[in-house]
Symmetry: C2
Subunit: 411 residues, 2 copies
């Protein structure tokens, strides 16, 4: 009997899982290490155990479920994603890759299909980076990019430490979180961009992930009463900021064909209707598949910050807090995913694609051959409650994942 996925079981679990932290507008609110994130983890452990997976939690709270191989000493095939969400995020982001991986194992179990290599399912901690920065923290430590102490010391806006919060929700495991020998890593994810949906395609065979840069910028001017302070005496941190927001648009418009640039977060002080803004803090996000393009964009943005500060005669701060190089995936994984895609949806319903969003796969790619499968995001929309993927595309995505696992796990 050939292993096939059970779409009804997958649907049932998908719906049940997304009742945890469900929001009124149809999304989920399960930020990293929240009570809802704990509940989601508890549910996974339950399902992992029901599928006869050996459960391990490492010191970053990354959650593994292992199905032995016929030669259990071989390096395993690892598949998964994450279950933490944005604040009021979508139901598909991350969840699909974890529940899809679990369904692949269930399909192997149902068919009594053994594999040469062990197959492991993983749910990485803190992928989103909305509560604790940086994002992809669990996979980053696993790949040796950050050390555990650094990660445990990350604080949310209330000053709660990641390590303490992990302890509080009961997922501070003892297994070491460090690179180990893996045959490959495979991740199914929603595209979060418009290309598959616009092209009416079911599957994206991901060739790699954009590199990106994150920076924190601040201007500090002079708070003063908005009435009696004449324009020529002002040092307005928000005016300087608006200069830079405009610059980011210009940089993205001319800096490279695939370059995108965003100011996503802004906080002004004292933030009062009749006081000139004294200090404004904001963020920059630049992404491209070409690391040189990102580099040039960041350089140009830094100069724009200096110029804006000079025009308004305010102080400036510019700190790049994260730079990730573009991650081209291993040909062997891209090709295995492509073969599976061709077999599931035929020649005309998939495309090769590059990911604009960062993923845990970006870090895994640094320690083992890595591949990703995308399914469409309707309207290209993600990180919001309206995030949506047609159910038949979800099923196709999991089938492609199964196909790729069947190939890789017997190598």
């Amino acid at each position: 009997m050939r292993a096939t996925i059970d779409a009804d079981r997958l649907r049932e679990r998908f719906d049940a899982f997304n009742e945890i932290g469900a929001t009124e507008r149809g999304g989920v609110d399960r930020p990293s290490l929240s009570p809802e994130n704990r509940e989601a983890r508890d549910r996974l452990v339950e399902w992992f155990e029901a599928a006869d997976l050996a459960v391990t939690v490492d010191e970053m709270g990354n959650l593994f479920g292992r199905r032995p191989g016929s030669d259990d000493s071989l390096a395993p095939v690892l598949l998964g994603s994450h279950v933490d969400s944005q604040y009021n995020g979508g139901r598909y982001d991350g969840v699909l890759g974890v529940l899809g991986a679990l369904e692949v194992v269930e399909a192997l179990n149902d068919a009594g299909t053994g594999t040469e290599r062990p197959v492991e399912v993983v749910a990485w901690s803190n992928e989103e980076g909305v509560r604790f920065q940086p994002d992809m923290l669990g996979s980053g430590v696993f790949a040796g990019v950050f050390d555990v102490e650094y990660a445990h010391g990350r604080e949310d806006k209330e000053g709660n430490r990641f390590g303490d919060e992990l302890e509080r929700i009961g997922y501070a495991g003892t297994a070491p979180c460090e690179p180990r020998d893996l045959h490959c890593y495979l991740e199914l994810h929603v595209e979060q961009g418009p290309y598959l949906d616009e092209g009416d395609l079911s599957i994206g065979v991901v060739e790699g992930v954009y590199g990106f840069s994150w920076a924190n910028v601040a201007f500090e001017g002079q708070a003063d009463h908005a009435g009696p302070t004449p324009m020529h005496l002002r040092h307005d941190a928000l005016v300087a900021t608006s200069d830079v927001v405009q610059s980011v648009r210009r940089i993205a418009g001319t800096g490279g064909a695939d370059l995108v640039g965003t100011v996503g977060s802004i906080d002004a002080h004292p933030n009062s209707i009749n006081v000139i803004p004294e200090r404004v803090e904001f963020t920059l996000d630049f992404r491209s598949y070409d690391d040189g393009v990102v580099e040039a964009a960041v350089d140009r943005a830094r100069r724009e910050v200096e110029w804006a500060a000079e025009r308004e005669d305010v102080e400036w701060e510019f700190e790049e807090i994260m730079r990730i190089d573009a991650a081209p995936f291993a040909d062997e994984c891209i090709e295995a995913v492509e073969r599976a895609a061709r077999s599931v949806v035929g020649e005309d319903d998939y495309t090769r694609i590059v990911s604009g969003a960062g993923h845990d796969a970006s870090y895994l790619n640094e320690i083992c051959p890595t591949g990703m499968i995308f399914v469409p995001s309707v309207g290209g929309i993600s990180h919001v409650e309206e995030e949506y993927t047609e159910w038949e595309d979800v099923v196709r995505g999991v089938e492609v994942l199964l196909g790729a696992v069947l190939e890789k796990a017997d190598e």
Copy 2:
């Protein structure tokens, strides 16, 4: 014996008063109806009673202390200001006008100087408008601009009602808050602008107050992932906002010689480094002594909001929440203040001036002849902890107030 103010007593009270809610950087944090605002009120009541003033609290929490006139049936001379502060505001704003008025009464008491008319000292509620909008709420109700029910129903960001908070701090008085017969209103205040300091002058004889407009503006676009969303598919509420921030500068630069324009407050949602801003709410503040200039600026700003929304293909909202006409003061009060100024500091150390900031005096001007005295703000700085006025200028300001009161209270 001619009444003269006691600079030492004034200083002692000024310092003691500003220990209430004192901040580390030398300012005060006593926002409207806060515990610190209550403590400040308690202190005033104590000092009013010690000065033999008959204390009344009205239904807006406005606090009056009355010194009878020799003909107590005559309309009183009212003098005062406010003791609520900005969040982390300065020590002089408002406080000077209230403690200065009290010192005037003490000086009359010390000298045994009777006046024909009663003299009343007042501390108005909620002048700043940082916790409850609109600002100048206590004097606004007193002048008949707002009704009491409207004012009591105003809510802070946590949804606390003004009326309930007034009750909670024990200052929901029973005296009706409504226009009554006043001979005149006089207010001593820091300039909050740079002109007296730049001109090295001690006293400003205020001819009137700028008119102004406040508006709440919002853009609503589409939240989406900052990585995989190409630039041409974005509907970024912050980009539209930055357009308008720049426009406000252009409008202020060309709309009229004395026109000022400010975006003081901005809030973005979801405010995440890797999500395109979906909704941004911000404020507009335009001021001029020419009401037509304010009108034109608001019209132009509304069009700029529309254009910015069209460029970015986002929804827009524009609500003007407050429009106050310029308030030219009565000649008889301007002249009385000017005579007192000339007598205290001589011909060369004062100037006539217009106020860019709104004051309780703006509302009082609608129901009785009104005058104001300014003392310099060093560096033109106010609404911040660094707000500073040389002590000798404070003393001169109170002496001018006393001189004007002596003239007006015997008319």
